[in-house]
Symmetry: C2
Subunit: 217 residues, 2 copies
């Protein structure tokens, strides 16, 4: 820890700003490459700083940087689900899906690597971060449906649909982003309404919801 | 490698038989506990052999034993999908699901640990084994549907449903195996028919299938 004079570029940013800048550079790299293919040198280069500076902010190296970038991406993804509680339900779901699919489009390679599992950087902490996003998505949907005490069958329906959306996103990326995003969005919305109707035939709580949903549209 | 006289118990089994016996003991342990909670000593004890003997067959230790047990479970799971190509399609899917859900019931804790990810024994090889089972399930379904050249929308529909079935299995285990397995099976079959109908509205290939499926039932 010698107090050598920092270069002008280093001096301009506060600790928080520098951390954000490094995180942003890392996130951009991790978004478009598998974690295996990103080195700390790449991050340093993308941020225009030295490798030791990256280590000063992230002493845990690539793993720590990856987990921090993932948490920041998870936060961004949660924000996609924010949707005003006005107007009919189906268009609300449609708008939230639009934002979610834009996120998938923007973070393509990183999104695939993360969700396909078996990555070297995958730990119980990264799994917990991803699960937290899934839970947040389910809570958002249930709160828009205005259900305070969702039963097992309704909860399962919502979580199964969220998993199906994830699977669709991965295949969509794999297939060169086909079918077109608007078609994918409408298709996923229609599937939600369809699986809710299936559950409605065996669950009174879901039946009441399905009815108000179709009255809505 | 001294040729000391083996104990009677060791002498009785051939190399292949011994390997199978160890694998079976491991599979039973890994089925009901998270991999973290199974030690080589546990496997040796369950098989009634010494720890060094387990190492002789699986020099890679627990990781190698886990991967071998997983491959053997994957094989068993693939067999669940075998279903004669006779009679209406929906009951065929229903019978295959019955076998699949019995497998999930039997391998509960191991199944959850494996699919929930972030486990210490998870590697790109274990991920590939699980993905192989998913692919086999999709191929089985498409071959029962008698589609030789499935388009993107149909493939996506089948894969999304398979993922939803996996999610349902995990929640089902988490919820103390509720709802009852027969209800879960019928629910999943109904969902398959429903999502196929949704895809049918935007894909001629799926539309033809959905029609023959409803003519069937």
């Amino acid at each position: 820890m010698t107090s050598s004079a920092p270069t002008p570029a280093y001096r301009r940013l506060s600790v928080e700003e520098r951390r954000s800048q490094l995180l942003e550079a890392a996130l951009t790299l991790f978004a478009h490459r598998a974690p295996e293919d990103v080195s700390l040198d790449d991050v340093a280069e993308a941020a225009g700083v030295s490798r030791p500076l990256v280590y000063r902010y992230f002493p845990g190296g690539k793993q720590q940087l990856y987990e921090a970038a993932l948490r920041s991406a998870a936060e961004e993804l949660r924000n996609c689900f924010d949707e005003p509680r006005d107007g009919p339900l189906v268009p609300r779901l449609s708008r939230a899906l639009d934002r979610y699919l834009a996120f998938v489009d923007e973070h393509d390679a990183g999104f695939s690597a993360l969700l396909q599992g078996g990555s070297v950087v995958e730990t119980s902490r990264t799994t917990a971060t991803v699960d937290g996003v899934r839970r947040a998505a389910a809570e958002h949907i249930l709160s828009h449906l205005e259900v305070t005490d969702p039963g097992l069958r309704l909860r399962m329906t919502v979580r199964m649909w969220i998993t199906a959306v994830e699977a669709a996103s991965l295949i969509w990326l794999d297939e060169g982003k086909q079918p077109p995003v608007e078609e994918l969005r409408d298709w996923l919305v229609d599937q939600f309404v369809a699986v809710l109707s299936v559950t409605a035939t065996r669950d009174p709580q879901t039946a009441a919801l399905a009815e108000s949903l179709s009255a809505d549209g």
